[in-house]
Symmetry: C2
Subunit: 268 residues, 2 copies
DNA sequence: CTTGGCCATTCCGTACAACGGAACGCGATT
DNA sequence: AATCGCGTTCCGTTGTACGGAATGGCCAAG
């Protein structure tokens, strides 16, 4: 076998600048199952070991990473500080939290808030149901727009949704995934009628989600709120009850973000 | 002693590599008072405008920053995701939160958790008092070790505290700041006797703090928990009641982190 | 004990990304 | 009109980032 040129795992973007690589390393570093080893990070990011090593040294010197026993690496103090500051300072997550908690209590299901990043949605916050069975979604994780409830909710309020979906068949994530872009596009109209949409086993087997878009002052989606559950827990007949709750939660968050400035913008 | 030629603003480290600069820019980007403008970031970080501009473009391409109206920059979706993941994945903040909330309820004062970063402490979490008057401490902010309650609590459990303090007079932050390293060192013994220490107007006027160290399995400090209040709210005679509460909270967090492995790991 | 695999770490010559002073166009302020 | 501060672009130079290969440590299998 000659040298495999490009066999990265899905999470790795094609890194170009040193900064990009460092950010990828950071991203790998905060994956939930700490600790992380150098070789593992090199594999995940598709970077040469020497490069990862140098980058980790830089990050360690800067306080963004710390090295533990036997070549294990963790998130450093400055990264924790930065993270806390980023979340505390972002209007999104500051206003989102209480709304998510409310929604979780009202529905009893796991609640997510995701923001758009290119052709993906990034989970920024999550309130788990109090009962057993956790969703295996990861905070900070990215999921495609076309096959998830949050993604489709976002698409429904993007002017260029059709272009993003393209015309080529989309990868099937489950046997039930809609792979035809026009079918997906048609499914988005649910939001126009009801204010929310449902997605069943489009991204993951046995999982159903109800989502509604969070929009800025111009009506463009910045993110979406969803409730998720197993198909036999979150049944189809309960959607009519859940949907409006999700819609209202998303509307409340939209108002808290840009909706307030929509009216008059009194500079304080 | 060669005095460093450092005329930058407090937050700016002397950046060397491109990655360091990018991290500094990110740090400036998450400062609480969004939005941020390019020139402002350039000033804060001490970098050339052109450099900041290029770096921000990199960050924007990578999804770590977004540019809004008229050259304003915000934290991007990937940064939010990374931040959420970092905090969700770090044992520190995961275990700390409920303990802090408890302590806040017990004391009624603002509660902080800070971790060590070199000769500074970084605020990683904070639970404000429910009443008015917020502390102006910023999550993610760095404060010196020698003049803050959390800092001194950390120093009290560092083997090289004396070396960190050095022998030169320390900068006075208020008229009451202890500037003599040996005086500071002496103040640390409070922790040995009581398990906590008090600091009054050492870092900021009219502010008193009570703090206790959070230690790892080896007994070395990784951070500290503190309660803070205005001197006429958090009175001297209430310290005897607050101290043990802070001490116990810190002990509980220490146990949750590495303390559990303390018993059966005579690895040496 | 020897071997082999996997690891983190170091080395080094080359290539290319980062640098930042300077210049530009714009809008607001005087 | 003139000045300021802003974000942005340009470009020749500099020095950092690169990654294949080599090193030595560790551990498990032979």
């Amino acid at each position: 076998m000659p040298k495999a040129v490009n066999t990265q795992i899905d999470g790795a973007r094609d890194a170009r600048t040193a900064v990009d690589k460092a950010l990828d390393v950071l991203t790998a570093l905060v994956r939930p199952d700490a600790p992380h080893r150098l070789a593992e990070i090199a594999r995940e990011t598709g970077l040469a070991k020497a490069t990862v090593h140098r980058t980790l040294q830089n990050l360690t010197d800067a306080g963004f990473a710390v090295s533990g026993d036997g070549g294990s690496y963790h998130a450093g103090p400055r990264l924790l500080g930065l993270s806390a500051a980023a979340l505390a300072g972002s209007r999104e997550s500051r206003f989102a939290r209480p709304i998510l908690v409310d929604l979780q209590r009202q529905t009893g299901h796991t609640v997510h808030y995701a923001v758009r990043h290119g052709e993906h949605a990034v989970y920024v916050d999550k309130v788990e149901q109090e009962q057993a069975y956790r969703m295996n979604s990861q905070i900070g994780g990215e999921v495609p727009l076309y096959c998830t409830a949050v993604g489709r909710a976002i698409l429904s309020r993007l002017p260029d949704a059709a272009e993003i979906l393209g015309s080529a068949p989309l990868p099937a994530r489950t046997p039930r995934t809609l792979v035809d872009p026009t079918s997906v596009l048609a499914a988005l109209s649910e939001v126009d009628d009801l204010g929310y949409l449902v997605e069943t086993e489009q991204n993951e087997r046995d999982v159903r989600c109800v989502a509604a878009p969070v929009v800025d002052g111009t009506g463009t989606a910045v993110g979406a709120i969803s409730v998720s559950g197993l198909t036999f827990t979150l049944r189809e007949d309960s959607v009519a009850m859940l949907g409006p709750l999700v819609r209202d939660a998303a509307a409340k968050l939209s108002a808290a973000l840009g909706g307030g400035t929509l009216r008059s913008v009194p500079n304080s």
